[in-house]
């Protein structure tokens, strides 16, 4: 499973709709200080459901929306979407059916519904508005935050998984008290 597309619109410095295509292997992101590289990492965290303002380096939801500059007005909303590609949909679906057992009871659950259709790709989306409201989407359909978490969990991206690692890595791994470090391992287990 891999990250195929990332689309930013109005997210922090990405006032213009910007699309990233990622292949397998290693993609480098380079550029001058303050150009927006870490903002891309923030967008990945955010669209995956990050709820912590400090992890996103902001104080409130509004701070995630392009605040404007001397020559460009601020925006009213932001949207980020991420397309994930799953090359082994049948395997996922089989595991899924096995896990949920009863194939009738959960058929109104959008995530289970979606996974049963064996999608080879899924688009996760998130929007935020100046009034602080957040909306979540799966393949364009409005869902709840917990549905996003559930889909990610089933595709190997649980809530605290190491999908985005910043300079804080060093402190996290080495300055944590030994007991706090255990949390990192419990994620991996």
């Amino acid at each position: 499973m891999h990250l195929k597309h990332l689309d930013l619109h109005g997210f922090k410095t990405f006032a213009n709709r910007t699309n990233f295509v990622f292949d397998l292997g290693v993609t480098a992101i380079v550029g001058p200080n303050g150009s927006g590289k870490s903002n891309i990492a923030d967008a990945v965290r955010w669209v995956m459901g990050e709820q912590s303002y400090s992890e996103l380096r902001v104080k409130k939801t509004e701070d995630l929306i392009f605040t404007g500059s001397a020559t460009r007005p601020r925006m009213g909303m932001t949207e980020v979407s991420m397309m994930l590609e799953n090359p082994n949909p049948w395997t996922e679906a089989a595991a899924d059916a096995e896990r949920t057992g009863d194939t009738e009871k959960t058929k109104l659950d959008p995530v289970t519904e979606l996974l049963r259709s064996n999608p080879s790709e899924v688009t996760i989306g998130r929007r935020a508005y100046r009034d602080g409201g957040n909306e979540y989407f799966l393949n364009g359909a409005r869902v709840r935050l917990r549905d996003i978490f559930e889909l990610l969990a089933r595709w190997g991206l649980a809530r605290n998984t190491y999908a985005v690692v910043g300079q804080g890595l060093i402190d996290q791994a080495l300055s944590l008290r030994p007991e706090e470090r255990r949390a990192l391992f419990e994620e991996a287990a």
Partner: protein
């Protein structure tokens, strides 16, 4: 659950020792449970000994040695329990050129299990990538992205 933690811990420990030796081109390191009797309460200690040196408190390690040790631990976790993709934001900032080279080589060994997006200021890291996006800021304070395909070395 407890057994899963125990097995995972052992596996990560093995990989941590390996990656440390690769990244430091020598030396030894390991993880230790502070309380092996109680896996729900235990802490995890990190013991790191760069080549030619004696094991010491983590605080005594240099800035670059700490970054490299933390990287060895991250790589060990990714080896045992790969995440489908991983965004690394300037984790190579404190490394000298020799260590950046070993970081890049070790990263390559993980690409089969994990897709990497590496934010970096380092030329070596950038040149070894399969693809590169350049980000710039225009005069309106707006970010622009451009795909920079590298010729030669990555053919």
């Amino acid at each position: 659950m407890r057994r899963k933690f125990q097995e995972t811990f052992k596996a990560i420990n093995v990989e941590f020792t390996k990656f440390f030796a690769i990244l430091f081109d020598g030396g030894t390191a390991r993880l230790e449970l502070t309380n092996p009797e109680d896996l729900t309460q235990t802490g995890i200690d990190v013991i790191a000994k760069p080549p030619g040196k004696r094991a010491a408190h983590l605080a005594m390690l240099s800035g670059g040695e700490r970054a490299l040790t933390a990287t060895a631990l991250l790589f060990a976790i990714l080896k045992v329990s790969p995440t489908p993709f991983c965004v690394l934001d300037e984790v190579d900032a404190m490394l000298d050129e020799a260590n950046v080279g070993r970081f890049r080589d070790a990263l390559k060994t993980l690409t089969a299990g994990t897709q990497f997006i590496v934010i970096t200021h380092n030329r070596t890291t950038m040149e070894s990538a399969d693809a590169v996006y350049g980000i710039t800021m225009n005069e309106d304070g707006v970010s622009q992205a451009i795909s920079l395909r590298l010729e030669s070395t990555n053919g």
